[in-house]
Symmetry: C2
Subunit: 705 residues, 2 copies
Amino acid sequence: MAATVNQDLRRERAAASFNPDLLTHILDGGAENTRRRREIENLILRDPDFFQHEDLNFLTRSERYELAIKKSATMVKKIRDFGISDPNEIMWFKKLNQIVFVEPVSVHYLMFIQTLLNQGTSAQQEKWLLSSKRLEIIGTYAQTELGHGMFLPTLLHQATAEQQERFFMPAWSLEIIGTYAQTEMGHGTHLRGLETTATYDPETQEFVLNSPTVTSIKWWPGGLGKTSNYAIVLAQLYTKGKCYGLHAFIVPIREMGTHKPLPGITVGDIGPKFGYDEVDNGYLKMDSYRIPRENMLMKYAQVKPDGTYVKPVSNKLTYGTMVFVRSLLVKDAAQCLSKACTIAIRYSAVRHQSEIEPGEPEPQILDFQTQQYKLFPLLATAYAFHFVGAYIKETYHRVNEDIGQGDLSELPELHALTAGLKAYTTWTASSAIEACRMACGGHGFSHCSGLPSIYVTFTPTCTFEGENTVMMLQTARFLMKSYDQVRSGKLLCGLVSYLNDLPSQRIQPQQVAVWPAVLDISSPDSLTEAYKLRAARLVEIAAKTLQAELSHRKSKEVAWNLSSIDLVRASEAHCHYVTVKLFSEKLPKIQDKSIQAVLRNLCLLYSLYGISQKAGDFLQESILTDSQIAQVHQRIKELLTVIRPDAVALVDAFDFQDMSLGSVLGRYDGNVYENLFEWAKKSPLNKEEVHKSFYKYLKPLQSKL
Amino acid sequence: MAATVNQDLRRERAAASFNPDLLTHILDGGAENTRRRREIENLILRDPDFFQHEDLNFLTRSERYELAIKKSATMVKKIRDFGISDPNEIMWFKKLNQIVFVEPVSVHYLMFIQTLLNQGTSAQQEKWLLSSKRLEIIGTYAQTELGHGMFLPTLLHQATAEQQERFFMPAWSLEIIGTYAQTEMGHGTHLRGLETTATYDPETQEFVLNSPTVTSIKWWPGGLGKTSNYAIVLAQLYTKGKCYGLHAFIVPIREMGTHKPLPGITVGDIGPKFGYDEVDNGYLKMDSYRIPRENMLMKYAQVKPDGTYVKPVSNKLTYGTMVFVRSLLVKDAAQCLSKACTIAIRYSAVRHQSEIEPGEPEPQILDFQTQQYKLFPLLATAYAFHFVGAYIKETYHRVNEDIGQGDLSELPELHALTAGLKAYTTWTASSAIEACRMACGGHGFSHCSGLPSIYVTFTPTCTFEGENTVMMLQTARFLMKSYDQVRSGKLLCGLVSYLNDLPSQRIQPQQVAVWPAVLDISSPDSLTEAYKLRAARLVEIAAKTLQAELSHRKSKEVAWNLSSIDLVRASEAHCHYVTVKLFSEKLPKIQDKSIQAVLRNLCLLYSLYGISQKAGDFLQESILTDSQIAQVHQRIKELLTVIRPDAVALVDAFDFQDMSLGSVLGRYDGNVYENLFEWAKKSPLNKEEVHKSFYKYLKPLQSKL
């Protein structure tokens, strides 16, 4: 097949200044990782059980849902067959399938792995899992595909040993397919506002579950609509006339065997969405629905048979799990943006259009400066986010080890950082993916480009697992706390240590003014310093705004709200600084000189582009001078030209197989047009030569006019 | 029904500082226009023939296509029945229908109205149209729905009288349903690159049409896929061994009566896209397909029976039509963004979430500063774009009258301006609509919000009718020409007259430095001056870049390409200036003081927000000082608070009926949640209690595990 590769792409690849395979190894964290990842990918991509089906874009929602269920069922068996046991490998396995279809339950299954890895060393876990053998544990991960989501993790975490025994085995054999019903129609982020009630009735020793208002209807849980027959329901617990807040209950919702909704239960699909067609996000309404007392998850809090409430002994925050999931979302931002860049850049190398010189052949659109300016900063961003993702993963594992040794000191910063970086990377990647789509012109609108699907599958990450603005404000809370600590004389460490050097803290305030003279816009380290100064300045501005609002005798909360624009800006600047810093710190660690050189250019482009977009922030307080900003602008243009010959090799290094890209425009072989035509011919509207509407409406109209 | 309006919205409306009806009149251009628009809207919205069908989000593409055909057929008759004859009113009529479904042929039908109005006064037109009675002309517009698109305008414009007679009557009675096949798989913007050939065969006096390569397959024409039986095909004309460039040919593609593709023709639908589900954008491949010589449109150029080519006498550019269509897209940007703002702001007034003060009731999310900061600048943008749209429309009519009197002097500027403003407003509105969607949190992802559909229907405007980057560069070309004229001593007039005052032109260069002292950030006029200086500066930078590239002995075209980032920036700054200027000039014309006050605040917010986003541009060359930028930031926060009580009334004034909004979240009565539930219950996945995949995959798996 290599012989048929499009000649433009062949020429591009031949001219690259580096070996993309070596860069792939860097992204994978080592050649051995690359080898094993490819091995697993091939297991899946060459398995007809997974990929012998019509293009998803041609299917109805119901057909897509059915296919997703079929694939999930297949996966349960395949993972066992293949003997894949490493959690990372499981993740590759699933990711690859997620590329072509979104499973009935999305990222939540990872919560399960996480709970298992973090809390699975106890004797209890042995019992819960019936077998501690790796292979069987993995069997359980796979089950989460079938609607279990947060169901099993919650069961493992909060159920008593008796409850584990009662529910785990049926869940294991898929008699119970569970989901986790937390979000309500009227309440997402703010959990305390949830309205579902569970009122204890000591007469019958049952809880009576109610959805007292329309806003209290459970809304969104994945797999709830059609797939699950059980749900773990979060509800306000009432006993002896008093409310004790949110607790979790195991609730059967459909009859075993027939799968029909049980009396008192109203359950269904919430309707079509922007993407996620395969997922049966559902609603659940309960009307005086009774469950036995024993179905309350009672490992921590309890309700005694007489209705006495027993407070939980400890109620630890699960910081670790949140950090883990958010770190995956950063990785996902990097991956999805990398895919979009791969498609847009390969297509731009294949597509010829217009003319630069009259009479000359039409150039590749990648030769237009405006096209390079649209795409290369996004390519640089994709690389930046890969390194951010890798950093969070490493840090998470290190901090986790520290926690194992009783040292929790780094956790708050890591938690605050991942919140902000989740928001920063998902917002950036979301709009960047759309920019890639629009850079492909008309064909970018076609579903065969793969880009619309990448976008609608990715953009929800801005909202789920913590709405981005809320996330930014969490990071801001940490930054404000750090700022206060500096003001009270404490020396900070970690990524916020730059606050120690705040101008207002320094003995020699003129240092800032001295700075621009030494700034070298060709030095990643120097640019990192500039971002650091910007972050410090914006943190200080936010802190001063907050102080000013407080001094007007507003309450702390009102003052916080009235400062929140500044707080979000500070968080963004902090995250931007961290990203630039991590990218530039990666460079000296790269052995291969040619790769180091090309990544250095990407790092410079990423940093300089950010400066040019936020020039006001850098000009204020003279972090950079007017003429430096003009130089930044000039340097960006030079970098576009420098990066141009390596652009295709840089996306090749992301190492997406065609089947996982799912794009006619982004094919490795560049044979775009013939495959565009082949794809279109299979479109459902082409199945009948003459559409029935001709006979129904057009022909009758013709005879009338 | 008024009694059931959500109490939050009732409170918001009661507290508004102005009467939204009066503002609606301003947007409509007078109370009488509002009255008549509502009258026509009610004719359609209350007509069960148009709106008695299932929610479009629940239908397959084939079902949506069928519904669109049905509606188009209905419309042909209804417009006659209702006796609607004013072109503006026809536009409202169609717009309203476009809201709920995208017709098989989109904006192109407007090209027809345009051609008719511009070129329809000749005696020839009388003949073409068979009747000059208004009502029948309108019948013809309506036909364009059924796949005619550019077909009829081209016919009217380029066909000989004989051809008119031969093709017009069948098209009129819908025996011929035509489309306009220009774009090819490999070529969009750059028409000269089109590859389809029409080779004259003097033996048979026929043209032989061929799609010689895969890239030459006609691709995208609306209504080509399934609906049309004729196409006007653009092809490279060959006769006597020589190529004479692009010409238009009338090509039958499907058999009359049976609607089956004719031998030699391969035609079909190009497959599903990001939106426009109802539209059968199609492909057309021709293999030595013969048409009579007489099917070449020969009003201008001709091929004689012996194959002799006769050059066209004149080949005038149709500037006017392009201006007209682009002006409609600016209006469309304003309308679609207004809709998105209406939905997001009403929902934000109804939605309660989280807490500002602990223990207090959950506030409306519109009370969060971050939410106001997300939405109010977009609301201000929507208003700004309404006034830009109105200005272009007025100017277009004025310039058209001048042209009637032989004065073409203003046309080049208007043409250049509309290109840039089309790009500027569609880019801005496209990302703003997505921002509105994301500001609605989880429910914004549901199709019931209406926001995904508004986005996917609107975002193609960034690409069609002139790709936005290409449009920006067209404006830049005019700006560069104007700059050169100033340099050569000519005094400019019109919107580019600020270039007369370029610092480099002035006798006293220190004026710029003096400027910031007198800037009043609370004065729209003063802010307009700031935008003017910024535009002047960026135009000059682009011109200097271009000069510098040229001086390096690069060709003019290469230099242009290497300056194109700067050129686009200059165009953007010019369009931004024009928008600010038009908004601020609108204010003194508003009689009602309360409305003037609220629009003044929106104008200030629009202008200041733009400055804060592009602070670097204003800081450089000291258009604004550091401390002024800080004040801008502070003033924006104050304006959010000032606008807050009027936010709902400001979107009410856009006057969208619920049926045309198509959004559960944006309902006028604010009864969001109960209707969310009602909508979901009708979702196709809920039609069967148990999905068939349960029996096919889940139940068998349960018994195996």
